[in-house]
């Protein structure tokens, strides 16, 4: 156990699996799989496993996703790390191929593959094509592909181990805004389930549901609400598909108040799905949904920071739900 950064935790999981599976491959673009951490050995997958297994070519995300899929179909466990600007370029391979092949082949196709899709949209000034948090919605919509989104280094490691061992294609969303998080992460390999939400706090007055880069704001608001005497059940979805309906329903049956919080665009954001599932199963609850407006993120920090959902917005919406 040691305090570890996000990427160190992820690469630790990958390194372990690559040592067990002598043919497992990793494809990257411009981000070599290298991580260091105070008091721990440097992890350099390229150096340790060689360029036959750990490889980059040019800027071509369709190749990266397609090659990962093809390697999986040939029986080789494969992981690719697609940087944020290109996380839509690979959509066809994941949506129209990886998502459909098992079904199309009557269950024959094997796809022990993971698509790590980096996403941003947290940085004032980046704007436009360099802000793309909304892909959580796009990928979660695909049948046949699991779409997960850890929000802590500890989950990032356990969910990476589970994703690699899963025989289904997994889209593993990486909100790059969380890259500076550090926490205690076990050294040994462990699995974190790909179908279970996590309760980050318990309480009887209000359920707040979010995921990925939304979680730090939710945790801050939860702390403030708890301090003012409001019992908050903060739920980290962790997996968008499959979605842990049971945990959501149980919580709102108790609190009767549900607030969803997303950095994704408002229309069809993960919170929309959360509210629909709860509304189908819980009578007499009240709902609110916070999300980024249906507008591309503008460059100006004045515009962007006003639009980007934050803990203050949660406090305001919670007050309305509780009032």
């Amino acid at each position: 156990m040691a305090r570890k950064s996000w990427m160190y935790s992820v690469l630790e999981a990958v390194q372990y699996e690559m040592r067990q599976r002598k043919d497992m491959v990793w494809l990257f673009e411009l981000t070599p799989p290298v991580a260091s951490n105070p008091g721990k050995p440097v992890i350099n997958l390229e150096k340790e496993f060689g360029r036959t297994r750990v490889n980059n070519t040019g800027i071509d995300e369709m190749w990266m996703a397609g090659a990962t899929l093809g390697a999986g179909l040939a029986g080789v466990t494969a992981v690719t790390y697609i940087p944020y600007q290109g996380n839509g370029m690979c959509f066809q391979m994941i949506q129209n191929h990886a998502g459909k092949l098992r079904h199309m082949t009557g269950g024959d196709a094997e796809m022990p593959i993971v698509f790590i899709l980096e996403m941003t949209g947290q940085t004032p000034g980046f704007a436009g094509q360099h802000s793309d948090y909304e892909i959580d919605t796009y990928y979660a919509h695909i049948p046949g592909v699991k779409t997960v989104i850890p929000s802590t280094p500890r989950d990032a490691k356990g969910m990476m181990a589970s994703a690699i061992r899963d025989r289904n294609p997994v889209v593993y969303l990486y909100p790059a805004g969380l890259r500076n998080l550090v926490e205690e992460v076990p050294d040994d390999q462990y699995e974190t389930p790909l179908d279970k939400a996590a309760l980050r706090s318990t309480g009887g007055d209000l359920t707040i549901v979010s995921s990925g880069a939304g979680m730090p704001e939710v945790l801050e608001a939860t702390k403030r609400l708890q301090e003012s005497g409001v019992g908050v059940e903060a739920i980290d979805l962790r997996s968008l598909k499959p979605m842990d309906t049971e945990t959501l329903v149980k919580s709102v049956q108790k609190t009767k108040r549900l607030l969803t919080f997303d950095q994704s665009y408002y229309t069809l954001c993960p919170g929309a799905e959360v509210i629909a599932r709860v509304a189908e199963n819980v009578d007499g609850a009240r709902y609110k949904r916070i999300a980024f407006p249906d507008a591309p993120p503008p460059a100006s920090p004045e515009m962007f920071l006003w639009m980007r959902p934050n803990a203050e917005h949660i406090m305001g919406a919670a007050k309305q739900l509780l009032g």
Binding site: G58, G125, A127, L259, R289, P296, P298, A299, M303
Partner: protein, 405 residues
Amino acid sequence: MAYETKLSRESRGGEPTPSATRRTFLKAVAGAGAAVSLSSQFSWANGEIGYWAKDLSDDKLKEMYATMLRIRWHERTQADKMLTEPGYRGYNHFYAGQEAVATGVCAALRNKGAFEEVDLVYSTHRPSGHALAKGVDLKKMCAENDFRATGLNKGYAAEMHISDKSVGFMGADGMIGPGLVMAAGSAFGIRARGSKQVSVVFGGDGTYATPAFHGTLNNAALLDLPFVYVLENNLYHQYAHYSYSCPMKDIADAARTYRIPGVVVDGQDVLQVYNAAKEAVERARAGEGPTLIEAKTYRYYNHWGAPGAKPGELGAFGYDPLAISSFRPEREVRAWMARDPIDIFRKTLINWGTLDQAKADAAEAAVKKEVKEAFEWADKQPLCKPEDGLKNVFVTGSVRAAQFG
């Protein structure tokens, strides 16, 4: 991390890979093909290309010199601001070192007139040089890069995404690949309209590996589009040497696949670039199809921002914390800086009698003053109104603020 190209990394690692073998094979084939049968497909600068700069007026040459200086001093001034003014929020992917490419190409284009008359330019995530060469207003660009409401794009775009339709500067494409296709698409539209415009895209060495590169050239060739692809090979895409993504030394070799001219020019010599661009643009305007121009060039700063740079000094050396694939050695940077495009052009103009030392110095002083005033103007511009972020999503109206629940 040590400086290395893909091949040196593979050979040093002692691990022969299938791709390395294939690369060697492709190199041999490409070399043999060029020598044997393709001379008619290729125009080489200093060879088959005419010296069209012979016809440039003194005024035009002076304007080109001022453009190069404007690009250079805009960057140096901005780099200094980034390094010395903690409150300054702008940033840049600096273009310094590549000024001759943007200037030489845009000097061969129509940059003034109605939108259906000017030639169109699509740019990259390194856009400020292309923008200034096309005629974008310096003051408004400075304001945009500092997120001001009166900036070129009212604060919505900032550095990697600027555009200015009024001079045919269609915009910086912050991605690698899509801009090429859009530019060829504009050429398709222009051809249908019959408006005799030309669509030009700037792209880097990193574009070669993208599917867009091949689809763009194939379709532009099949349709004889009025299109010019200016590939600025500055050796590195982000932090990776281009040998990681391209099996050829000259990316222009790819043109032969599509049966279009592929031209290699010295990107440090604005007049060579102009000569090649002039031929390509005239060919395109005459309905004879596209050209791929590969300009060999180099950037003086690192991929992004000003790491390794010092206030008042040109270029960035030493450690870049972001340089994770290939570290650019200081000697390589300095060797390219010794063939500085502005120095080369200045010497030529003095040699021709277009300028003398005093006039060249005066031109530089005038540009420095203009740049200083542009940044001062930008500093005084108003910040954006937060709620304007909900506008300009569609032609009319605003979208709902969803962040309050």
